[in-house]
Symmetry: C2
Subunit: 143 residues, 2 copies
DNA sequence: AAAGATGTAACTGAAACGGTTACAATAAAA
DNA sequence: TTTTATTGTAACCGTTTCAGTTACATCTTT
């Protein structure tokens, strides 16, 4: 399975908020830029708000990013919008046979290895920030 | 989203085939060890066969692993059983607005970064082999 | 021919995804 | 105070994937 497009949409939202910081940023505007429905954006806004990454002005509209972009990592965004049960990247089959020597031990054997892969991926996500996106976006826009 | 349990089931299958190599390994046996349905196993067998990792004896039954376990990586198994469109880990939203400076460039900006994360994860999967699983499983079983 | 296995089609229920409509709640402006 | 613009959220929808299940054709050996 793929990581849902909520992740790239959320990053796109941050890019909009920052790029057009002179204007009030609404869900309609972002929906138009991303190419989706405003309600999708508002649901994402709620997830990002719950994660403490933004503040949303009800009624009047407008979004404020709560931290400098360099202090918001891809992992922060990923965790905010991606719903993986127990934060587990791998879904382990749930009923291995305890009477079989393989079934009884496969979990012990695999858990460490799978956690290591997940941890490596999360470290990589953590090494990229929205500040990097801002910087690269400015370069592309000015081309 | 999570990586499907087909991945851990497939590794479990290899562990069965190797651990019980004295006997003929059938889909019924593996289904019992994994705790699922034989047809699930047979579908996985087809995917692993298509990837060239095993040979399945039709009619008579039995599975042969085509390479030494140390030469089969988690990435081989992952690619064999996980169906991600275009091998892309991240699902990019598909209709960014070309008229918006952000929408027009977001793909350029993110592609490299997302590919890097994916590549890192794949490298980590590639560093673990079924030989490692065999070794650790033997330790656990003999406890 | 019988037995035992794989290969595969067809179906199911559940969950997640992305989207859509509708509307209540809110805040500011007129 | 009314209007306007916006967010918040519930209730759907169609699609896809997942894991499972039944049924049965096919194959190989006995």
């Amino acid at each position: 399975m793929q990581i849902s497009s909520r992740f790239t949409m959320a990053i796109h939202m941050f890019a909009c908020i920052d790029t057009f910081k002179e204007q009030k940023m609404t869900s309609d505007f972002m929906a138009a830029s991303i190419g989706t429905n405003p309600v999708i954006i508002r649901k994402l806004l709620q997830q990002l708000k719950a994660a403490g990454l933004i503040e949303v002005a009800r009624g009047t509209g407008g979004v404020r990013i709560t931290r400098p972009l360099e202090n918001i990592t891809f992992l922060d965004v990923y965790r905010a919008v991606e719903c993986t049960p127990d934060n587990e990247l791998f879904h382990f089959h749930e009923n291995p046979n305890e009477k079989c020597p393989v079934g009884r031990n496969i979990h012990h054997v695999l858990d460490d290895k799978l956690n290591k892969v997940q941890k490596t991926m999360e470290n990589e996500l953590e090494a990229i920030t929205l500040g990097d996106v801002k910087k690269d976006l400015q370069e592309w826009v000015s081309k």
